[in-house]
Symmetry: C2
Subunit: 215 residues, 2 copies
């Protein structure tokens, strides 16, 4: 996947839903939306050197309530969302009812094959597993859901890494690990210099996949 | 300030506005809203042991557009917001026009005196300075705005710490440093064990005020 230039921005679609964990989706949103291929503060004041176009997608057009009741208006619903290059599926308590929500699972199944990359944060990996996207792959999830993930057929569960990359499917550990995973995706697509400069911009010392998952 | 118990939750009011930096306000929102005095996953499924009640406040009741065009519906506007115990003022490009926005500066001036604690993230400290809340105090801001902050009268600018605590006013460095600052506030109010357990829950290895601001 080449670094996009000019107007060819990669489309990052982030799924949101009721009781999605706030940092699960806003961490990657921040990282992808503030990345610039040109360094510095001034570059953040326009979209000119932004390699990604980031938007949220929900089942319906109405505002969703994230954990703590943060209300977010989705940019698109399942019927209006444009083609997605990087699909981000966050987690949270709200994933539990979605495991039985046919529209959501089939939207993921329909969206993933044309995406260049599918990434999950936290228990978002359970939705990927349910959609059959983790069969035969290594993956991880929030520490409290590792056993649940291991109950899906043919998923090789990793309990130690902050994120697990298996080809074009990347799953991350709980909540904050999604920020590190997003920076890894930026590095994979735009190079280490761009990822590091964006981390510097948001004053975030990056962590490696092998860094401890929790204190 | 004693740890609140039962129904006496501390009210955390987070100011939001157009072009507020996403992680500036969602980082502290995540930390305060997911803190529980009771450990574990199950405790996160209810508000019973939540020491904080977190909400967003905007000038007007309409949705605001954060950086990257994340659209958020505020819980309250300036006329409907309840009394606030912990006032959080985030930053972002959107602080620049607000420095000359009389309603916002006077709302901060009116809200701060009855709050137990005032905290800013990133360039949110410029709004506190404009409101006169940093006079005679040590403070910090995003690395690119340190010189701007030093132009306010009687503000002692710290260029090294990830957050600066001066009595009941705490200012943090750029964007992601607000997460560390929020955990510090949780520790100050609820103790280290509660703050550490919440960091463990969201798989976030906490950083100290003296840890490097950027990579």
């Amino acid at each position: 996947m080449a670094t996009p230039g000019g107007n060819e921005k990669l489309k990052v679609g982030i799924l949101i839903f009721d009781n999605v964990e706030v940092l699960d989706f806003t961490g990657p949103f921040e990282v992808f939306s503030r990345t610039r291929t040109e360094a510095g503060v001034q570059a953040r004041r326009s979209e000119d050197s932004a390699p990604f176009q980031v938007f949220t997608v929900a089942h319906l057009p109405d505002p969703i309530s994230a954990t703590g009741n943060l209300r977010v208006v989705p940019d698109y619903d399942f019927t209006t969302a444009p083609q997605i290059d990087i699909l981000v599926v966050p987690g949270g308590v709200g994933t539990q009812p979605l495991l039985d929500h046919e529209e959501t699972i089939s939207w993921i199944q329909k969206t993933a094959p044309t995406a260049k990359l599918v990434a999950s944060v936290c228990t978002g990996s359970l939705l990927l597993a349910k959609a059959g996207l983790l069969e035969g792959r290594s993956a991880t999830t929030h520490w409290a859901s590792l056993d649940t993930l291991s109950q899906f057929k043919n998923v090789i569960v990793d309990r130690k890494l902050r994120w697990v990359e298996d080809g074009d499917v990347i799953t991350s550990a709980g909540v904050a690990a999604g920020i590190d995973m997003a920076f890894h995706v930026v590095e994979r697509i735009c190079g280490k210099e761009v990822a590091d400069e964006t981390a510097f911009y948001i004053e975030y010392p990056r962590r490696l996949a092998t860094d401890p998952r929790s204190t």
